[in-house]
């Protein structure tokens, strides 16, 4: 039931054909950065573009600009990024740099002022944040059962076990602690159908050990899905995420850089050297 991007649907053109089309849509190509894949993007303020054909699952932002109403300056200017799926990736950056705004742009909740987002195989993008609440008039179990997708319903018990809330399902949401509330909120999103789930500090107020266990089990349970995890914990994003998109202030160019993370998975031994490299690179980039 996840909502697809609302907006113009455009065909996907690969290779030099796009550049030679002369329709003014293609401003520049970064074939190397996108791995030889050329999205048709350009001046599409507020548009979401679906791309058909090609291979892999990607969401590409190209020359994105965004300014809040009545703001003096753009928050983003010429922002380029690529989220490759499936995988568990992170959006990292200092407070106030625009992580949540970028997440809302990616999920279609805000229109871009300039530039375009091109999605390939990522039509169903969901955004969840840590301040969300479940309705207080029904128990957690009833809410999960009422809102789960057909396929999601079958994994309810597994998710309850992973998130350690089996004993709380008959309780009402306001009765839970903040950490329990955030876990319950994330469970209901994982019961939906999605290609990309943007998790904006969704595991805030959850203790570190539980958070790590949840991330590892999520990665194992949803290997075909894409996650974008927003967190301020550099060690966590460096260890568990495949790619870490580091968002920086407008004074730094490019405003977003991608750092390869440790991508630690369940059952595998963490690579301390790789983790250290990733952490240093992230801290340096931020």
């Amino acid at each position: 039931m996840a909502q697809p991007y609302r907006g113009e649907v455009t065909g996907y053109t690969a290779g030099a054909g796009a550049a030679a089309s002369g329709d003014g849509l293609l401003e520049k190509r970064q074939s190397d950065w996108y791995g030889g894949w050329n999205p048709v993007v350009g001046e599409h303020p507020g548009k979401r573009v679906f791309l058909r054909g090609g291979c892999g699952v990607k969401l590409v932002g190209k020359d994105i600009a965004y300014r809040y109403p009545n703001a003096a300056a753009d928050l983003f200017e010429g922002l380029d990024f690529c989220i490759r799926g499936p995988g568990f990736h992170a959006l990292f950056g200092p407070s106030g740099v625009g992580k949540s705004t970028l997440a809302r742009l990616i999920s279609g909740m805000l229109p871009t002022r300039r530039g375009a987002l091109a999605a390939q195989g990522m039509q169903r993008v969901l955004y969840t944040y840590n301040l969300e609440r479940l309705p207080g008039w029904v128990s957690l179990r009833r809410h999960f059962e009422e809102t789960a997708s057909d396929t999601g319903r079958s994994r309810l018990n597994t998710l309850l076990e992973i998130f350690d809330i089996q004993t709380l399902v008959e309780a009402r949401f306001p009765r839970l602690s903040l950490g329990q509330q955030n876990r319950a909120n994330l469970v209901r999103y994982l019961l939906q159908e999605f290609d990309l789930l943007v998790m904006d500090e969704s595991l805030a107020n959850v203790d570190e050990a539980t958070r790590q266990r949840i991330i590892l089990r999520m990665k194992a349970l949803f290997p075909e899905r894409c996650f974008l995890y927003i967190s301020h914990n550099v060690a966590e994003v460096a260890r568990f995420c495949g790619e870490v998109l580091v968002l920086r202030g407008r004074s730094k160019q490019p405003q977003i850089v991608t750092i390869p993370g440790g991508d630690h998975c369940e059952g595998a031994e963490p690579d301390p050297a790789r983790l250290e490299r990733a952490m240093l690179a992230i801290v340096h980039a931020a």
Binding site: A2, Q3, W137, Y189
Partner: protein
């Protein structure tokens, strides 16, 4: 809750009567202007039952008018929460009309409908309708983003669900507004009875006024206070019971 409200009312009532008696003594006013305690008690004994029945009659009309207003205001607020021109028109009209003293149009209703139940009911409903509408408008137009986001994002939001979320999340506010407007309904009914009725405590007060019988008016005020307090306490208890039921175990 009932005990506290009734006690508060009695304190205020006795203070008011005490002040009147102080005036009587200080200014050496006759019993014709301000009756003494014995005369008030005698009037209460003689007219108490008839006045209590009149208060119940008024309360019945006020409750009916109040309930009518609640349903009407809720229905209009549901439409007016829409972002289109219909919603905008209703919101503007409601804000403009509510600034007008509705009680001033009561004589028009009296001319058109004559005296009787319908006129009393309409005036009672009109007086509490606009404050209710404005409050409902505010509550139903204000998104509860932390809850609604999930339903919007997953394409499950319906207008019924939206209203349910906003109403239940603001249940305490709604309860306060409904209890507050109940007093207005009572005021509206009594005002209607002053000008257009053949029954009710307002009608009795009007007769007492023509007779310059302050004792009767004081007895009527005592019974109005008790009746209104009982109705308000009942409404508050209903609101609390509903909230507890929703909060669950």
């Amino acid at each position: 809750m009932l005990h506290r409200r009734i006690t508060q009312f009695f304190i205020l009532y006795l203070a008011g009567v005490g002040l009147l008696l102080l005036f009587k003594i200080a200014l050496r006013l006759s019993d014709y202007v301000i009756p003494g305690p014995a005369e008030i008690l005698r009037t209460a004994h003689v007219y108490g039952t008839a006045y209590a029945a009149a208060v119940l009659n008024t309360l019945g009309v006020a409750v009916l008018g109040h309930v009518l207003s609640i349903f009407l205001a809720a229905a209009v607020a549901v439409i007016a929460r829409l972002k289109d021109w219909v919603g905008g028109f209703i919101r503007t009209a409601a804000f403009n009309i509510q600034s007008y003293p509705i009680v001033a149009v009561a004589p028009i209703l009296f001319i058109l409908l004559g005296d009787g139940l319908v006129t009393r009911l309409l005036i009672a409903a009109l007086i509490c309708y606009f404050p209710l509408l404005l409050s409902f408008l505010g509550i139903f137009s204000e998104p509860v983003r932390e809850i609604e986001h999930f339903y919007e994002a997953t394409g499950r939001m319906t207008w019924r669900l939206q209203i349910k979320i906003r109403a239940l999340e603001n249940l305490q506010k709604l309860n306060t507004v409904v209890v507050g407007s109940a007093t207005l309904a009572m005021v509206g009914t009594i005002v209607a009875e002053f000008i257009a009725a053949t029954a009710g405590i307002g009608y009795r007060i009007r007769i007492a006024l023509y007779q310059s019988d302050l004792a009767k008016i004081l007895v009527a005020l005592l019974l109005i206070g008790i009746g209104t307090s009982l109705w308000l306490v009942l409404l508050e208890r209903l609101g609390i019971a509903l909230q507890r039921k929703l909060e669950g175990p």
